[in-house]
Structure formats: C-alpha cells, structure tokens
Symmetry: C2
Subunit: 194 residues, 2 copies
C-alpha cells in the first residue's frame, strides 16, 4: 500500500473500499505541501476546493473594513478547511487561509466530490456526517460568542484545540477569541493562579 492510499484510508476511517473504489478515490485527491507563511486561499478568489489536513496547521481569517484580522477557524491534523460559504456556492472567498505550521494537505475539488457522491454513495453519507459535526461546532461557537466571557471562551478553545497552543502565536489566539493579546495574557495568569 503506498503512502497516499494509507492517508486516504485514514481520511475515511471506518469505510471499506473495494480496490476499484479506492482507485476512484485516489484520483480525486491531490497532495499539497505548504510552508509556514504560505497563503493557500486568498479572499476574492473563486473557491472550488476543500482541503484535508494531514499534518501541520492552517488558519482561516477574515479582514474587516477597519483592517483587523478575525480568525474564524484553525485546522489541525485530520480536520477539513475551506471558505465553505464560497465553496458550496462556487463564489468568491471572503476569507483567507494561510499556513501557520508547515503542512501536508490533500485537496479535492467540488467536481471530484460530485464524482465520489455518484460513484460511491457511502461517501455522501460520510461527508454529510462531517458537515453535521462542523455545523455543531459552529453552533457552539455562536453560543459561546453570544453568552460566554472571554475566559470561558478561552477554556473552550483549549478543549477544542488541545495541542495547538505550541504552534500558534498569541495574537492568532486573541483574534480567534475576539480579544486583545493583553486580555489573553491576563486570562492565562488568572487560570495559572488557581
């Protein structure tokens, strides 16, 4: 089994593929290697792909009219990322995605996904369930933004991304939480005191 095959099997954990199906799946994915600082997707570009993170870390952010960066999502090993609003509607990205830790990712286009759904219907089920999971995380994030204090949001963040703190800059975390880096330091000190 080559390394691409074994990575694809880890993407679709728990799904049994015939060798013919595996060939179809393999043809739809392309490997991309990114270095820290690389831009994967720029706002304004039409989005036709989504990305599976095999290793490393990516970040999706949005720049508001006042020039501030707002981090929407981090993506670590075994996560998926894209500007999904743009991807689903094949329209222009409003977010930018950059690499914040050297990464190996696998991209799949919308057309390739449609091929998979048609040829291997159980993959439509797989992606529906993935979507349900992402939807739940976004719903939790909205609840958090509306109802939690910055400290509570930070605690949720650590639980969501347990190992991420080593590879992410403080100002990225602060922009994800919607607070300043000063507030982030204060919260960390408060938690450390306990």
């Amino acid at each position: 089994m080559n390394s691409k095959t074994s990575i694809l099997l880890s993407i679709f954990k728990g799904i049994y593929f015939s060798s013919e199906e595996l060939n179809i799946v393999e043809r739809q994915f392309q490997k991309i290697t990114l270095q820290k600082g690389d831009i994967l997707l720029s706002s304004g570009k039409v989005v036709g792909e989504q990305y599976y993170i095999h290793s490393g870390c990516l970040r999706a952010f949005f720049i508001s009219t006042d020039g501030k960066e707002h981090t929407i999502q981090f993506a670590i090993e075994d996560w998926w990322i894209s500007d999904y609003t743009a991807f689903f509607t094949t329209s222009k990205a409003i977010m930018t995605i950059d690499c914040i830790k050297d990464a190996t990712i696998y991209k799949i286009s919308k057309e390739s996904l449609e091929i998979l759904y048609l040829e291997i219907p159980k993959l439509e089920t797989f992606f529906r369930k993935k979507m349900e999971g992402s939807f739940s995380s976004f719903q939790k994030r909205i609840l958090g933004t509306l109802s939690q204090t910055a400290k509570e949001r930070y605690i949720t963040f650590i639980k969501t991304y347990p190992d991420i703190q080593l590879s992410i800059k403080n100002y990225h975390i602060a922009s994800y939480l919607g607070i300043t880096t000063e507030s982030l330091s204060r919260i960390r000190k408060e938690i450390a005191k306990k």
Copy 2:
C-alpha cells in the same frame, strides 16, 4: 392530492417522487400545530427530531448562567429548526425552541430520516445541500459577530429575515443581535434619518 402531500412536495421542491416514494415520505412526517407561547423543545431534553416550518415563526434561544436569553435563530416559513448539535448526537438540548407566532410545522425523527436516506438516496443529497446552506449562514453569522458593528448586524438581520419584523418583539431582535433594546431603537432611528 391531499394537503399533506402538497406540503411535502413544497418541502422537497424540485424533487420528483414516484407514488411509492411519496408514500414513504408521507409516513415519516407528522404535523404539529403550535400557538404563540408554546414551547416546542426544552433545554435538557434529548433531541430526536427536526422541524420544518410550514407557517408561523419559531425562535431558538439559549439561557446563559446569568439568566440572560440569547437568540440563536429565528425560523419562518420554509425553514428548518432544531437544536442541531443535540439532534446530530442524540444528546440533550442546550437550547429552547418556542413559538412566537402561531405555527404549523412538520416534524421528522432521526430514525425516519435514516429510512429516507436508505430508501430514497436523492433525499440524502437534498439534506446534505440544506445542511451546506445552514452551515454557510452560521459561518456568516460568526463573521458578523466578530467583525460587524451592531448597526451592520441589524442591516444583515433585516436582509436575512425581510418580513419577520412584524411578528417579532424588539427584545427578541435585540437578543439575536447581542445588544440592548435601547441600542436597537437608536440604530433604527439612525437608519430612518437617512
């Protein structure tokens, strides 16, 4: 054609059903009539259903530890609502859903959905696409919360729910926007002045 049939056809606009398929679909949906003030779903209950709004208006909200209500979503005609995080994982609701304008809705259980996915695979595609649409709205809502002023969020709200203002109390709109009713009045006056 009975009225339930025609409503189901309007739920699944654009999908062709054989009469056998239509029978299967009909068996999975149950009609519920709600009056303003009725609670459809209480936080703490296990969620096994999602709801299609045929008429009227529902609201999903979350009560934070300080007793404040935070409105996550309104659902009007032709929208779906549930505590999706709880629904997808068959766990306890953290939100409550109440009726804010007399409503006729159709519920479908998770088990019934699984039957539909198995018996009529094109419905799995339908629900995957619905999910993609909801996911996009949630992503936009997160972007909005992170980066927009209250006034900009109000304008987005009016565009999202154009006819809703007649049936919704000001404090519901304010709790959706994460502002006080006083701020809401000020914003409305500012917009009216222009």
